[in-house]
């Protein structure tokens, strides 16, 4: 502003990006609203009771009821605590074993067949054994989640470690770096995109594993809500559980996994659709 006249600055470059993002979000919401409208319209046409085919309004009422009664918050916190613990421990073990097997030939010879064998046994098959050993409750569920997360992280870390550029390893070694320094300065940074990919895959598997494990081995949690809803003929509660599960995954992916992936893999140009996904 000068000499009493108002001068408008150039439009902020942020504005079109925000508008674009908002437009994309609106389009995404339109699909959801269309589905909800079709669902609501179909209820009287189908003519079944709320136990067989609850309307979206029934599901909304069940959601409010679950929140008012304090059930949903407790189940949500329990599920997320188990998920976070399983994901964290599984990822740590996966990275540690991946680095060990990737760098040590003897460890690779000794452990690779065992890992391949265990990888073939799905976590659902382990849950009954875990229940016998540790009883119903969080221990069993966290163990099952660790098992689910471990293998994708392990194999992706292994891949990352084995494809670390040898020329960089040699260069750092020739400068007198110790084995630990080679690991810290070359191998781990090279393996990071692999670790992140493994973590994202493992996080998705763990989310599905959480539902299975809670159905079998828990008395709280979103998986238990899904199961218990149908047992007590409250199908709307089951659908609330399913929707919460889906929304949780969207939130975790959107607010945590994708930004972390973008900050590592896409930032280094290792994916072709880096720009498209922005």
């Amino acid at each position: 502003m000068s000499g009493g006249t108002l001068t408008l600055g150039a439009p902020s470059p942020v504005a079109p990006r925000v508008r674009r993002r908002f437009g994309r979000m609106l389009k995404g919401c339109a699909g959801v609203f269309l589905l909800l409208a079709l669902w609501q319209i179909s209820v009287p046409l189908v003519g079944l009771g709320p136990y067989f085919y609850p309307a979206p309004t029934d599901v909304g009422a069940a959601f409010v009821d679950l929140v008012e009664k304090g059930i949903l918050p407790v189940y949500l916190v329990d599920s997320m605590a188990r998920y976070t613990a399983g994901l964290g421990i599984g990822a740590l073990l996966g990275v540690a074993c991946g680095v060990l097997v990737g760098l040590n030939r003897r460890a690779s010879l000794a452990l690779s067949p065992l890992f391949k064998f265990l990888f073939a046994i799905v976590e659902v098959a382990w849950i009954p054994i875990f229940v016998v050993w540790f009883g119903y409750g969080p221990k069993t569920i966290v163990l099952a989640l660790i098992y689910v997360v471990f293998f994708p992280v392990l194999y992706n870390t292994l891949l990352g470690v084995r494809t670390a550029p040898q020329v960089l390893v040699n260069a750092v070694r020739s400068l007198g770096a110790s084995r630990l320094q080679v690991l810290r300065l070359v191998i781990l940074p090279s393996a990071l995109p692999g670790i992140i990919t493994g973590l994202r895959v493992g996080a998705g598997f763990a989310f599905r594993g959480l539902v299975f494990a809670e159905i079998i081995a828990a008395k709280t949690g979103i998986g238990y809500l899904i199961f218990e809803g149908t047992q007590s003929q409250q199908t709307a509660r089951t659908i609330v559980g399913m929707i919460v599960m889906g929304l949780l995954w969207l939130g975790i992916d959107q607010f945590y996994l994708r930004p972390v992936e973008r900050a590592t893999i896409e930032r280094w140009g290792l994916t072709v659709d880096a720009e498209q996904r922005r």
């Binding site: 304090g70 607010f255 945590y256 930004p259 972390v260």
Partner: protein, 101 residues
């Protein structure tokens, strides 16, 4: 670079703190008439709705559930820390001393 995860975490932490703070406020309000608390007491815990299995299990962890009548759960052998936990639950409307018979 990682603004979104930091922002999401900050929102989650803020919501958790607000939830915990409202629980403490509720605890003070619901227990004000009962102070000082005996080492083990009997109480009538009233909810805004008929308690479900979930609520009975939650309350059973804090003491001995003797009876459920309407919206009220009658409990014995409740220690002060357990009673504070019960009072912090937002689904608990009021807590009254009960003779235990």
């Amino acid at each position: 670079m990682l603004r979104l995860p930091a922002l999401a975490t900050a929102v989650l932490v803020a919501l958790t703190l607000a939830f915990v703070a409202s629980g403490w406020q509720g605890e003070r309000r619901k227990l004000a008439a009962l102070l000082p608390l005996p080492p083990q007491g009997s109480y009538a815990v009233t909810l805004a709705f008929a308690p479900e299995r979930f609520h009975q299990v939650q309350l059973q962890d804090k003491g001995r559930v003797v009876e459920v009548r309407g919206h009220t759960v009658y409990m014995k052998d409740v220690a002060p820390p357990a009673l504070a936990d019960i009072a912090r639950e937002y689904w608990v409307t009021s807590i009254a001393a009960w003779s235990g018979t």
